[in-house]
């Protein structure tokens, strides 16, 4: 039985998936630390321990995400754009638009018939509309990341907010609080403005019949609700943890790469 691993080192979280026979044997999600190489290794070891395996049991490790560049433990690398498409297509083949809100980038990917990337578009190169932004926001309100979505859903009204910049978000929140605005309403306003920006990205490449969210922010119910409202479409729930889609895709590519390598070796042997 061949075993493969995909490691997705993002700017906020590092994810690993161990795959065999089309089944996820184990996975892990840990916060990314300063050394992305260490984060990747740690996530990998954690997933391996869960599966009761050792590094040597792996046929191929493929790294993705920003940390892939320094992933000396991996045999190959690919960008997270291709990996997200691959991962999502594997678990939910009916989905052809993926919104991935990651730690540093927000991207919308159009998936082709076979799980390949047909087109993609990414946010402006700043942290607004990404996982990092939500971290800053949670800190400003002194709540946890997981609290944000439910708080947004509990808003009575929506405060208009631009928050085009993470740096300003904090000061904007403070001034809104000073004016006596309740946190829920502010949080809802921020979610709304981000959902609006994301909708703009989706419009650039067009919305397929089935659309899903991947990445850490996909777990935020407030964001999901607003995106559905603005896109006027249901978000298909993924059959795996949406944060793992990239790592899963990487593991799937690892499998493809390994078999290509074998074929090449077989040819060479002839």
């Amino acid at each position: 039985m061949s075993i493969f691993a995909g490691v997705d080192t993002g700017s906020v979280a590092t994810k690993a998936v161990i795959l065999s026979d089309g089944q996820i044997l184990a996975h892990s999600i840990i916060p990314t630390v300063v050394s992305s190489e260490k984060s990747g290794l740690r996530a990998l070891e954690q997933a391996l321990a869960q599966a009761g395996l050792k590094r040597d049991d792996l046929v191929y490790i493929l790294a993705t995400g920003y940390g892939r560049i320094s992933a000396s433990y991996a045999q190959g690398t690919l960008t997270e754009i291709g990996c997200h498409a691959k991962g999502v297509h594997f678990v939910n083949p009916e989905v052809h638009t993926v919104i991935d809100m990651g730690g540093q980038d927000c991207k919308v990917i159009k998936i082709g018939e076979w799980g390949e990337v047909d087109d993609f578009v990414m946010n402006d190169k700043c942290a607004a509309g990404t996982g990092r932004f939500f971290e800053v926001l949670a800190k400003a309100f002194d709540v946890t990341l997981d609290d944000l979505g439910p708080m947004s859903l509990n808003a009575e009204k929506r405060v208009t907010i631009s928050s085009t910049c993470t740096v300003f978000a904090e000061s904007e929140v403070i001034s809104l609080m000073a004016r006596g605005e309740v946190p829920e309403n502010i949080i809802n306003g921020i979610h709304f403005s981000l959902a609006r920006r994301t909708t703009g990205l989706v419009n650039r490449i067009g919305l397929a019949k089935k659309v899903a969210m991947a990445g850490g922010v996909a777990k935020n119910p407030g964001m999901r609700a607003l995106l559905q409202e603005l896109l006027e479409a249901e978000l298909t729930p993924l059959t795996i943890d949406p944060q793992l889609a990239g790592a899963l895709g990487a593991a799937l590519f690892a499998k493809e790469r390994a078999s290509a390598r074998e074929r090449k070796a077989a040819l060479a042997a002839h």
Binding site: T79, G82, D105, V117, K125, R204
Partner: protein, 477 residues
């Protein structure tokens, strides 16, 4: 024929290996505009002894650097290009002593006008190089980056934080580092940042003469009064330059420049078309991109430039005929046509990630803008200017790009624009969408990394994703 020779590395600097010397000397030297000559021996000595000490940033062996030599020497004639690039400063100074004026210009339109009037055209890109030549001489790579960044910061803090990064090189004029004599760019459609910066130089450089060659834009350059207007602007610019140099530019002077620039443009076109025709990339992307720049401003000397190009063509033809592929470019490279403003991702980084750059539309556009050699030179340059494919409205330009990129067998179009470029940023999406409508994959890329020693990951991650989407694979390490 040259096999790809890797550079020698000593003390963190690249040197051309001795084995190249013999074949290089066989090819002879160069003749300049004024008839002066430089021998192959002199070129070799400069490029291998003086230049590495003067410009360590250009000879650095740090492969993550952007402004550097390629690791492999693929064409011997490229040494002559580097010679012309790196002697820009000393040649400029010598020309100035002989009565030439150094003119700040903008990229895109024909440079024939300036050469004809004995003005050395200096685009903002080479401005950055010149700033480096003056301010960062003998400085290490890390200092080089910090010095350039210092100029960018000065440029922005004196104008506005919103100014295009490239245009911040105006700081080199403001701080009197680069001895510019006149600000005389073509303007209007090209770049509003440039116009407002020329205007802004009134504050710190009231001493410099300033003029704009206006090329108005009202969606119909064929209107009769438009042509008259442009021609008059050209005449006015030449008058301003003449006041400075104290000589009178004749139609014959302009025609001589036109003949040589036509020759440079033609040679540049032939080079690119030959490169595109090869099944596998015959050289690394850096050379292709350099040709684009050099065909446009001719590195201060159209006569020498034409020789270098013609020599390069012979060498490239041999490589293509023998089916030699650059080792720096992947066998399965995604071929990119680049559009946009004065910017492209680092050629080296693109090659390393499985891409190859074929051309940039503004440079290709200027290579196509031959000027008629008979008749009134001002009217001829006007017609050339009005024919610029790059300056057409966005939809028209995009369709032209699609057509040209097909000739170059591009897999995709990369629309890159500078952070702060209002003029290209505004149409980046239109351009990409028109290309997509025509069936060519496209991506737009806002770049803010100009002048940094290494290519920032966020930009390059997008390029990698685009490479993967087009089925490209990085070269085998």
């Amino acid at each position: 024929m040259l096999k790809d020779v890797t550079m020698e590395v000593r003390d963190g600097l690249f040197y051309f290996p001795k084995e190249l010397k013999g074949p290089f000397l066989e090819r002879g030297g160069l003749t300049f505009w004024d008839g002066r000559e430089v021998s192959a021996e002199e070129i070799w000595q400069f490029i291998n002894e003086e230049a590495p000490q003067l410009f360590p940033y250009f000879f650095t062996s740090d492969l993550s650097a952007t402004y550097r030599l390629p690791y492999h020497t693929e064409l011997l004639s490229s040494l002559k290009s580097y010679y012309l690039t790196l002697t820009r400063r000393q040649r400029t100074e010598a020309m100035k002593r002989e009565g030439w004026a150094l003119a700040l210009v903008n990229g895109g339109p024909p440079m024939d006008l300036y050469y004809g009037a004995r003005a050395i055209p200096m685009r903002p890109g080479p401005m950055a190089d010149l700033i480096m030549n003056y301010a960062a001489e003998k400085k290490k790579l890390q200092d080089h980056a910090a010095i350039l960044e210092g100029f960018y910061d000065d440029g922005a803090s004196r104008t506005a934080a919103d100014v295009c990064r490239l245009m911040r090189t105006h700081s080199g004029i403001r701080r009197r580092v680069v001895p510019v004599d006149i600000l005389a760019p073509y303007t209007a459609m090209r770049c509003s940042d440039m116009s407002y910066l020329v205007e802004w130089q009134r504050a710190d450089r009231p001493d410099l003469p300033k003029t704009l060659v206006d090329f108005p834009w009202d969606h119909d350059p064929a209107k009769p009064y438009t042509g008259k207007f442009v021609a008059q602007n050209l005449r006015d610019a030449v008058k301003r330059i003449d006041q400075l140099t104290g000589r009178q530019t004749t139609d014959e002077d302009l025609k001589r420049a036109i003949r040589w620039m036509n020759r440079v443009r033609k040679a540049g076109r032939k080079l690119l078309e030959l490169w595109w025709s090869a099944p596998q990339a015959p050289t690394c992307s850096k050379l292709v991109f350099d040709w684009g720049h050099n065909a446009h401003d001719a590195l201060c000397d159209p006569v020498a430039m034409a020789q270098v190009f013609e020599e390069t063509y012979e060498e490239l033809r041999e490589r293509v005929e023998h089916g030699i592929k650059s080792v720096e470019v992947s066998e399965h490279a995604a071929r990119f046509w680049v559009c946009g403003s004065c910017v492209a991702p680092s050629c080296f980084a693109v090659d390393a990630r499985g891409g190859a750059l074929l051309a940039r539309d503004d440079r290709w556009s200027s290579m196509l803008m031959d000027v008629d050699e008979e008749g009134d030179p001002y009217e001829n340059i006007t017609r050339s200017l009005q024919s610029s494919p790059y300056e057409q409205i966005a939809e028209k330009r995009a369709l032209w790009v699609v057509e040209e990129s097909r000739k170059a067998r591009a897999n995709g179009i990369l629309f890159a624009y500078h952070w702060g470029c209002n003029y290209q940023g505004a149409i980046s999406r239109v351009m990409c969408d028109v290309a997509k409508d025509a069936g060519v994959p496209s991506m737009n890329l806002e770049q803010d990394d100009l002048g940094r020693a290494t290519s920032p990951e966020q930009s390059m991650n997008r390029v990698s994703a685009f490479v993967e989407m087009l089925g490209g694979v990085p070269p085998q390490a």
